[in-house]
C-alpha cells in the first residue's frame, strides 16, 4: 500500500452564501487546494455530499463539479454516507492513491443547505435515519439525539447546565476562526434559555444550517514533494459502520463504530491516543460531542462533562478539541464537514490554522460520523 499525504487544502467560509450554488462553493475550495498544491492537475475527483439529490434535484455531482473547474476526462464520483459523507469521500480518495490508481486525487466535500425552508432541510437531514423504522414514525434527527441526551443525563447524573459547557467552549473557539459560521460567545445561561428544539436539546446545543465546501489534494509519496514543502501524512485511516436505526443498538450512550474506527486508525499509524495533540470531532449536538470523546477513549464513560467543566480539552490541555469551533459553531454543511475536519487538522499541524492554535502539534485526529454514528471515519494525521 502506498503512503498517502495531504498537499494543498482549501476552505470556504461556512454560513449563508446566497450568491453561491453547489458549483461556486465547490470551485472556491477546489481551486484553492489546487493552487496550494503547485497548481497540480488532479488525476481523479471524489465528491462528498449528502443533500444535493433531495434539495437541488442534482445527482451526478462527480462529473458536474469536476467539469466546472476544468477537470473532465478522469475518474470522478460522489460518495454518500449521510453526515459522514465527507469522511467517506476522504476514505475513498485515500484508497485511490494507496492503490496506485491515481497519484493525485482532489477530494471535495460540498453542501448547499440555505436555499430552502428549515422544515424541508430538517426532513432531508432525516434521510440519514431509517426511513422505514424511524422517519416513517416521525423521528427527526434532533429528536433521536434528544432521546440519547436525556438517557445520558439520567444515567450519569449530569446536569443540563453542565452539558451547556460544550457550546460555550465551541463558540469561544469559533470566534477566532474566520471560516466559522457562529463567531460569537455564548454563556451557559444563554444556552439553557435558548429556544427548545427537541427536549432537552436547545437551539444553542445544535449545529447550524449552513453552506460550505472544503477541499484537499491527496498525493502519493512518489509525487507529494513536487506539490508542497510541508506534506502532512495520512498515517492511519479507519471506517466502521453500525446499525442506522438507534433501536437496534446494544447501547444508546456509546458508539462502537467510533471506538473501532479510532482503534483501527491508531493501530495503522502506530501511535497511542495519549500522543494526540488535537482532535476535530463530530458534535452535531452537544450530546454528540461528549459521546464522541468517550467513544474515542479521550474520557471514561460519563466522565467527559466533568472533565470539560474542570478545564480539559482546550488550549493548553492535550488534546485540544475542536479548535475550529466544531460542528456546533464552525458549522455543519453536512456532506462537507468530514473534509473540513481533515483540512483543519492538517492546517494545525502546519501551524497555519488562522484561529485557535495548537502550538507544536505533531499528531491530530479528524473524526466524522454519519447518522447517530451509524458510520464513523477516523483519520490520524502526522506532521
Amino acid at each position: 500500500m502506498k503512503k498517502v499525504f495531504i498537499a494543498g487544502t482549501g476552505l470556504t467560509r461556512v454560513g449563508r452564501q446566497f450568491g453561491k450554488g453547489l458549483r461556486e462553493l465547490f470551485a472556491e475550495a477546489a481551486l484553492k487546494a489546487i493552487e496550494a498544491s503547485n497548481n497540480v492537475n488532479p488525476q481523479a475527483v471524489v465528491v462528498g455530499n449528502m443533500l444535493a439529490s433531495a434539495l437541488q434535484e442534482q445527482d451526478n455531482l462527480g462529473s458536474l463539479l469536476a467539469d466546472y473547474v476544468g477537470l473532465r476526462g478522469r475518474p470522478a464520483f460522489k460518495v454518500e454516507a449521510a453526515c459522514g459523507s465527507g469522511g467517506a469521500a476522504v476514505y475513498a480518495g485515500y484508497s485511490l492513491v494507496a492503490s496506485g490508481l491515481a497519484d493525485v486525487v482532489l477530494v471535495v466535500g460540498v453542501e448547499k443547505m440555505t436555499d430552502h425552508a428549515t422544515d424541508r432541510v430538517t426532513r432531508a437531514l432525516a434521510q440519514a435515519a431509517d426511513a422505514e423504522y424511524e422517519l416513517f414514525y416521525g423521528a427527526s434527527f434532533a429528536g433521536l439525539n434528544a432521546l440519547v441526551m436525556r438517557y445520558y443525563m439520567d444515567k450519569h447524573g449530569v446536569s443540563r447546565e453542565d452539558m451547556a459547557e460544550w457550546p460555550v467552549l465551541m463558540h469561544e473557539n469559533a470566534k477566532e476562526n474566520p471560516y466559522a459560521q457562529l463567531r460569537f460567545k455564548v454563556t451557559v445561561e444563554q444556552v439553557i434559555n435558548s429556544p427548545l428544539i427537541a427536549d432537552p436539546i436547545r437551539l444553542l446545543d445544535s449545529s447550524p444550517i449552513g453552506d460550505g465546501a472544503a477541499a484537499l489534494i491527496l498525493a502519493s509519496e512518489d509525487v507529494v514533494r513536487k506539490l508542497t514543502d510541508t506534506p502532512v501524512e495520512v498515517a492511519g485511516v479507519g471506517m466502521v459502520t453500525d446499525s442506522v436505526d438507534v433501536a437496534s443498538r446494544d447501547e444508546l450512550d456509546f458508539f462502537p463504530s467510533v471506538k473501532e474506527a479510532t482503534d483501527t486508525a491508531l493501530r495503522m499509524a502506530k501511535v497511542g491516543l495519549n500522543m494526540i495533540d488535537l482532535v476535530e470531532l463530530h458534535d452535531a449536538f452537544s450530546i454528540m460531542g461528549f459521546l464522541s470523546l468517550e467513544s474515542m477513549g479521550f474520557a471514561g464513560r460519563g466522565e467527559s462533562v466533568r472533565m470539560l467543566k474542570e478545564g480539559a480539552f482546550r488550549e493548553g490541555d492535550r488534546p485540544v478539541v475542536n479548535p475550529s469551533g466544531g460542528l456546533k459553531a464552525r458549522g455543519h454543511p453536512v456532506g462537507a464537514t468530514g473534509v473540513y475536519q481533515v483540512v483543519e487538522v492538517a492546517m494545525q499541524l502546519r501551524g497555519e490554522f488562522p484561529g485557535v492554535k495548537v502550538s507544536g502539534a505533531e499528531l491530530g485526529i479528524a473524526q466524522n460520523v454519519g447518522g447517530l454514528a451509524s458510520s464513523a471515519t477516523v483519520f490520524v494525521l502526522r506532521r
Copy 2:
C-alpha cells in the same frame, strides 16, 4: 497494486417486485454472492445506487444495507454517478482491494423504481442531467437522447427502421435470460409503431423501469483461491468523465468518456479490442447502444447500424453484444445496472450464464455510463 478478482456473484430478477424493498433486493443478491464465495465474511461494502434519496427518502445506504445482512462493523458507503452508479461502485470497490485496505469487498448495485408513478420516476432520473442548465428548461432524459438520435440519423443517413434492429436483437437475447425484465420478441414493425416517447424515440427503443440488485465479491490474489475455484480477473479498469450538460460537448454523436475509459482499461489489461469475446454495454435507448459500440471502437462512426443489420454482434460473431438483453430488455434498475453487467460478463467467462451463451469466451468487457456518457466505466474481465 494488488491484482483483483471476482469470486461469487448474485442477481435478482429485474422487474416489478412489489413485495421487495431496497433491503430485500439488496439481501437477495448479496447473500447469493456471499454464498457463492464459500460464505466469506466481506471486510467492506460498497453500494451503487442513484434514486433512493429521491424516491425512498433514504440516504446512508452503506450502513443501512450492510447491517441488514449482518455486516455491521466495517467500512460501507454509497457511490453515486447517476446511471453509472453501479460501475462507479465497482471501481471504488476495486480500489479498496487493489490498495490492500481490504482483501474481500462486497459490491452491490440496487435500485427500487416501481413504487412511484412514472412521471415521478422520470423526474428523478432527470437528476442525472444538469439541474440548472437542462432540467430547469424542461429537458427529460429521453428528450436529450431523442435529440442525439435525430442528429445521428440525419448525419449518417440512417433510417428509423434500421435503428429498430437494436431492440429486436436485445429482446431476442433477453428471451433466454431468466433474470431479464422483457422476455418476449419484438419486430421492427412493432418498434416503429410503439407509442412515441420523445420523437424519434419510441417506447420499444427505451429501457424499462424496474427493480433489481446485483452483487459481487471482489477479492485480492492472496485470498481468492480460498473463495472459488473459478476466479475471474478484473484485468483492466477505466473511469472517465465528460460534461454533464450535452450542450457543452464538442460532438453530439461520439462519447470521448467511453473511448478513453475503454482505452485505459484495455491498456491496463494489455489486450486489444479484437480479442474481446463479449461486451455488456449501456443501451438505455437504442441510440445509446449504437453510440457505445462506435465510441468503444467496435464499429466505425455511423457504421454500427449497418453492421448490426448485416448480422454482426450476435451469437457466432465476435464480440457478442449484450447476450443478457442489455438495458433495453434485461432491464435498467439504474444504480444496479453497472454491477449487473460485470456479473453477467463474469458468468459468461465461467460458462455459467443461463441465457444466450458465448462459448469459449476468455475476455469480456462491461461498459456502464452515467447520464449521456457524462461518466463512463469500463472493466476488462479475463477468465
